[in-house]
């Protein structure tokens, strides 16, 4: 080891090292991946984001306060603390930013507080969904240059990032996220607007369905923060007294709901299961046929201590992703198409010559795709739908790669040398204005 070049340069212990100042200053880009549930942010070139902040924020409304009409609580700790009058809201709507004031603050929180990077020192790469309208893209550009003062910036479609993260320049990206499940064909790194579809059958939908299901069952969905301790019981008709935590005020309903999401999320992780075969799920789970395949029971304990065994009903909510008509909670408007049908629609829109290529390169990402047996089911559905060409699903086995694939792709893009010529610089923005984004990044 003494012969390694580095080692030989180390001075003997008696000699004072020469004055050596490090001159160069490499600047790494930041990658920001705003989602409806969480906002991911980190340095380009790394394999996981450095920080993952809830996009949900708390607000204590106060019409007197300028700009936000209340005091904002941003960050995981803030959102999870019980504060009188705090409402939990989300600045995103339909997967795109709606409340720019708050979003700007959340982004700033991610970058300046969590990463403590001076935002004006780093180029910034932001991901956007394919349905992001021009107005929003221009607004992003303005925010980034005017509010943050970044030296350079670029907007990338998240589907492109996800495709790259799975090392495919061309693929059919199925992103099963929180607010939306989207399908986007990406050909040679370019997303095709034609053939891209989305449906709200995603994580949030599952949560809503499960909440409805639990309510129907008469379960007291008291979240952890509202409890002092739990009392184990199994009989819903004879519930023991709730040992609730008295804060001296009733937290806002949106806060309770947000806290409920925490255990519903746990339920999704540990109990929810996708029915593996298409079209064999019993239409009425309360009256299953005798020849029905036995399905294993699993038990879940709710925060207040209620234990319940869930049988086939734990498949119900995931089933509704594919078969929305079975949703425990009916849709208010039109019943959307199931995920598989939506993919079929998308493929049907594609030119015939790329269809086979797309079906052979299906990339499934997004945290909701981590549902147990989701991919199995999706694969079966697609194989049944497209009997001719070979359908091949690719999905990373690593949970972080699935969850943060859009960010990861952004990180890869921003760190690769050829990408540097794409950055939109401050100077260009000053010359042309917000519309530069439409010219430079379609």
């Amino acid at each position: 080891m003494a012969s390694t070049p580095q080692a030989s340069q180390v001075l003997p212990s008696t000699t004072k090292p020469a004055e050596l100042e490090y001159g160069g200053d490499e600047i790494s880009a930041l990658v920001l991946d705003p989602g409806t549930n969480t906002t991911r942010c980190g340095f380009a070139g790394e394999d996981t984001p450095k920080t993952c902040v809830p996009t949900y924020y708390g607000i204590i409304p106060d019409p007197e306060t300028p700009k936000y009409f209340g005091s904002l609580k941003i960050g995981e700790n803030a959102v999870n603390s019980v504060i009188d009058g705090m409402e939990i809201r989300n600045p995103m709507n339909e997967g795109i930013v709606e409340n720019w004031e708050v979003t700007t603050d959340i982004w700033r929180h991610c970058i300046e507080y969590k990463l403590s990077s001076r935002v004006e020192e780093h180029p910034l790469l932001i991901t956007e969904p394919i349905w992001n309208p021009l107005k929003n893209r221009e607004r992003t550009t303005e925010v980034v240059f005017e509010d943050f003062g970044v030296p350079a910036y670029f907007l990338v479609k998240s589907a492109v990032c996800e495709s790259f993260a799975n090392s495919k320049p061309s693929s059919l990206v199925i992103d099963v996220g929180h607010a939306y499940t989207s399908v986007t064909p990406v050909v040679d790194g370019i997303p095709l607007r034609k053939g891209s579809e989305r449906t709200p059958l995603a994580g949030q939908h599952l949560t809503t369905q499960l909440r409805h299901q639990f309510t129907e069952m008469g379960i007291r969905m008291t979240p952890w923060l509202m409890l002092k301790a739990k009392t184990t019981y199994t009989d819903l008709t004879n519930m023991p007294a709730l040992r609730s935590r008295d804060y001296g005020f009733q937290p806002h309903a949106s806060f309770i709901e947000y806290q409920q999401d925490r255990f519903i999320h746990e339920f999704k992780e540990s109990l929810s299961e996708t029915w593996p075969e298409p079209r064999t799920f019993p239409t009425d789970i309360n009256n299953v046929g005798d020849n029905f395949r036995p399905f294993a029971d699993k038990s879940y304990e709710f925060p207040d201590g209620y234990q319940r065994r869930f049988g086939i009903d734990r498949c119900l909510a995931p089933e509704s992703l594919f078969n929305p008509s079975l949703s425990p909670k009916p849709f208010t408007g039109d019943t959307p198409k199931g995920i598989a049908e939506m993919i079929k629609d998308s493929v049907d829109h594609l030119d015939a010559d790329i269809r086979a290529n797309m079906l052979n390169n299906i990339v499934v990402v997004g945290a909701t795709s981590l549902l147990y047996r989701f991919n199995e089911r999706l694969s079966q559905e697609l194989t049944t739908m497209f009997p001719g060409p070979r359908v091949k699903l690719q999905s990373s086995g690593q949970t972080p790669e699935r969850k943060y694939s859009a960010w990861l792709g952004g990180s890869i893009l921003a760190s690769c040398g050829a990408f540097h010529q794409l950055w939109i610089s401050k100077q260009e923005y000053d010359e042309i204005g917000a519309n530069i984004i439409e010219r430079r990044a379609k």
Binding site: Q6, V10, T15, C52, L115, A241, D246, D297, G311
Partner: protein
Amino acid sequence: MPPFRDDHILLIAPGSTCTLAQLGLPESFTPPKVRIPSRMFPGVEEGQYLPNKIHEVKEGQELLLGNGEVMTAGPGGKPYKKRKVGEANSKPSTTAQTSTSSGAAKKPTGDAKPADAKGDTAMADAADEAETHDDDGDEEGNDDDEDQEMNGTKDKDEDGADGKIYYDDDFDEEGAIWCMEQGRIVNWECFFALLLHVHEQINPTFHTPILMISQPCWTCTDKERICQFIFEKIKAPGFCMMDAAAAISAAYGIPNSLIIDIGYEKTDITAIVEYDIQELGRTTIPVGGNSLNLHLQKLLPHLSEDEIEQLKHSNICEILPAGIPIPGEEDIERDALLLPPEISTVGMGGVLPPKAPEEEGNEEEEEGVTNIAAIVASGKTQEYLAKKEKEKADKKAGIAAGEKRLPNYKREKNTFSFVEKVQEQVLGEGKEDNPIDVHDGERMDVDSAPAPSGEPKSAVEAPTSSGADASTADPQSNPDAEKAKQGPSFMESMFSATKEDDDAKRAQDKALRREEKKRQEAAQSGEKRKEIEVGTERFKAAGGGILEAIADAAHRVVSSVDEISKRGDCWDNLIIAGNGCRLRGFKDALVNAITAKYQVSPSSSGMFTSEIPSNIPTPSGTGTNTPQPSAFSSQQPNALLLQAAANNAAAAAASSHHHSSSAHYPQTPSSLKVAKIPEYFPEWKDAGFEECVFLGAQLGAKIYFVADQGLNKGFVTRADYNSQGPQAIHNI
């Protein structure tokens, strides 16, 4: 290159209050040898930071030093006079700086047992100190924190030309700049000055690599700056940073764990999976040892910050294990699983200002849980108190007689001795605030009832020092008179009881022994001590939602671990570290807090990992039948749930052909265990394992610098730095 040697490795663990350091790795790893408060004082020149407070004294001016000496600058800038304040007839009128005790120790070290390290802190400077102080015994008896802080060379930087002298005052903390807050570095200049100071103190050879413990909240940019400083200013040949959580995990040597590191103003919660820090889920919550102080302060508004700090460190302040009632409080106030400090007044504090719940009073009663706050709010306080009084009256006689000799947890009140600085100016004020009429029995009862009225609690202040200074005797005459009324026997029995009590617990509690020793020391040195009596508030230090906040954050952290299968392992290896958890019973209380709320009972999760087929009765190997199919139509909970749990073994065998969901994992935590403290570090046993982060640092240094010698790029070498710059720190 010559390999790095064990004894030439510098370890630095910066903390918000105290920076730990050590040169060299001893044969058997020891607790840190050097302990320096993480604060510097602005120097004479702008941008200059010095480890000690600098007083600028003009010729002829008198300077009151923090340790109660008065110094006058003589002609030519020579300090020519030193005398004790007590002897001085008049207080110096022209002091440029005031050194009141209230200004001092604003940020007491979060360390509960600083005296432990005292013996170790045998630094070269200690000798200096001994030389300069003729009254060394006096110094020694001072506040422990203060003791640690003196790396105390009493340099006299003389500047005869303009007749000014600069004098380092080791005891004055006023104007100190604390460079870190909640682990974050808030003042970089000061932080670097501190690093430099630490380095100078230890003064290692040039061939000494440095390992620094990094705080979880340090960002990449922070680390780069530190790396740059280490190489360019300190010129270390090698440098590496070890995350605090990683160090703790290394000290315990457990692959999967949940680390709760309770510091002064923050608690870091990190999940470790396969020795890998779960960067994304980790969180830092602004709750720590100081929250305990603040909460106690709220409960005992009449005590000063110093007093609170010492109360916390004293052996009477503890968190009672679940099931042991707080003396003087009724059992009905508590659920079986509930933590003692959760009751009433306490519950509402913390994050939120208490607000009267109008509608909840009735509900609460229906549920059979007595909620004091609700009772008070609903205006039934009087009735309730009357009821309590009656209950109390029966017991009272017994209590009054027996209480004095009971162990701490059975006594309604207990005393601790507060060590005062010799020269305490606020002493008088402190007392005037307190109504001293608390000795009558009626009042005691009211106090012990946890009424949120926040009345000042009883405080007996008994100067036990042999020679109370004449100057301070005046404000104390009042309490003395009060005491006289009570009769000396009361005080005496109180005091002797404390002593006996101490003796009884000596074996288990070393802190006590020290206390005893200090008491004697103080008696000899004529130092001021007073006994302060506190009521049951001393059991409620962790109220105000501190435990809950930590428990909830811990649950969030584990829930964010991506590998669901490892979550259970994390819960099973809970590591509670950091000096904030030194409070007696704190760890148990925290574990209880998590268990009570989050632990899933075994019948519901763990045992059902292997699935039980429910639709078809499967004959099992043992012949018992698994539960009959439950009709899905019935929305009734499955009555066989518990039975099924009992039959679980059989069911597991039967379900072997059903193991379809191998990727599915049960709810967590189904069990919760505190990780076992490794036993092969004898030196650490005495010091307590709270600072095991430093043990981890030693282990890490041994591996990175000695065993591995940089083969696996465990640290940044100078060559790496020269080629890559500060970013090199990220490549290791």
